[in-house]
Assembly symmetry: C2
Homo-oligomer: 169 residues x 2
């Protein structure tokens, strides 16, 4: 899929067939995450891949907007290592770029995905980190539920002239 088409047609997908994505597709998506830009090119991200149905169920119980995680069949938890990037704001920016790359890659290969926010909501990130034994030096920034979609969405017009300012505000 063309890059511009991918960007303009990607939507958050929350309905899935239940079939679990294969290892090749998972690798394609992860690779996209690894190739995101990062401050000073520190690449401070880690990815925890969850496919176990009990763990997916637990995640859906912890996070208020993760009800679709078990039916997606795969959840990618994106964490940033404070030992690699000690400026927390940069860590969030880097991991967000990695998440966006993975969402676009998933869409580009015909899968559905949705970004589930965690940082800075500790009632989401702390129990998820505990569930997955993520060490304290990592910030759990967000998750992606990804799988075979059972809904199609069109895109509304998001281009807003009033949010573009020329030369100054």
């Amino acid at each position: 899929m063309d890059i511009l088409e991918a960007i303009l047609t990607r939507r958050s997908i929350r309905k899935f067939t239940g079939e679990v994505l294969n290892d090749d597709d998972l690798k394609t998506i992860l690779k996209a995450g690894f190739y995101a830009p990062s401050a000073k090119n520190f690449q401070p991200w880690h990815f925890v891949i969850v496919k176990n149905s009990k763990t997916l169920e637990d995640i859906s119980q912890i996070h208020p907007y993760a009800k679709m995680v078990p039916s997606a069949g795969c959840c990618i938890v994106v964490c940033g290592d404070k030992n690699d990037q000690n400026e927390e704001g940069f860590l969030i920016e880097d991991c967000s770029a990695a998440i966006e790359n993975m969402l676009l890659a998933a869409h580009g290969i015909g899968l559905g995905a949705v970004w589930l926010s965690m940082y800075p909501i500790s009632s989401r990130s702390e129990p998820i980190a505990e569930l997955l034994s993520i060490p304290k030096n990592l910030i759990t920034v967000g998750m992606i539920a990804v799988g075979y979609k059972s809904e199609e969405k069109t895109t509304d017009d998001r281009y807003k002239l009033e949010k573009i300012h020329f030369e100054k505000w």
Copy 2:
């Protein structure tokens, strides 16, 4: 350009020909930013487009890694409106996704671009906000210098197995 190719071959470009990108290309890039995902789909971003050579020069004097901005010929300053999204962490995540979309779109149409971090470094964001009269309810998250590239870069292997964790850390 294919979405996966775009993600895997995009690099930070810091050398430019000096020719300024045209309005159609600028619109394509901005549109990509507008189509990023955002928490609750609030789309809290604004974009300040700077092409004025004096202002570009001022930006390059303020930001320690923005020396290439005048030669790029265009700088897109990305801000998030706290009135649209009052959870600051989400605002940073949303604007980061918009920035990544714009970097990919620029690369996809053959232009060069680089992400210049601002948030949470107030010595960068505050004078830039003042220079561009950006109101106090906005967070200046980052900037993109974009233009016609005069360098080509290959991509190193960024896929790191040791940063992938299955089922738990």
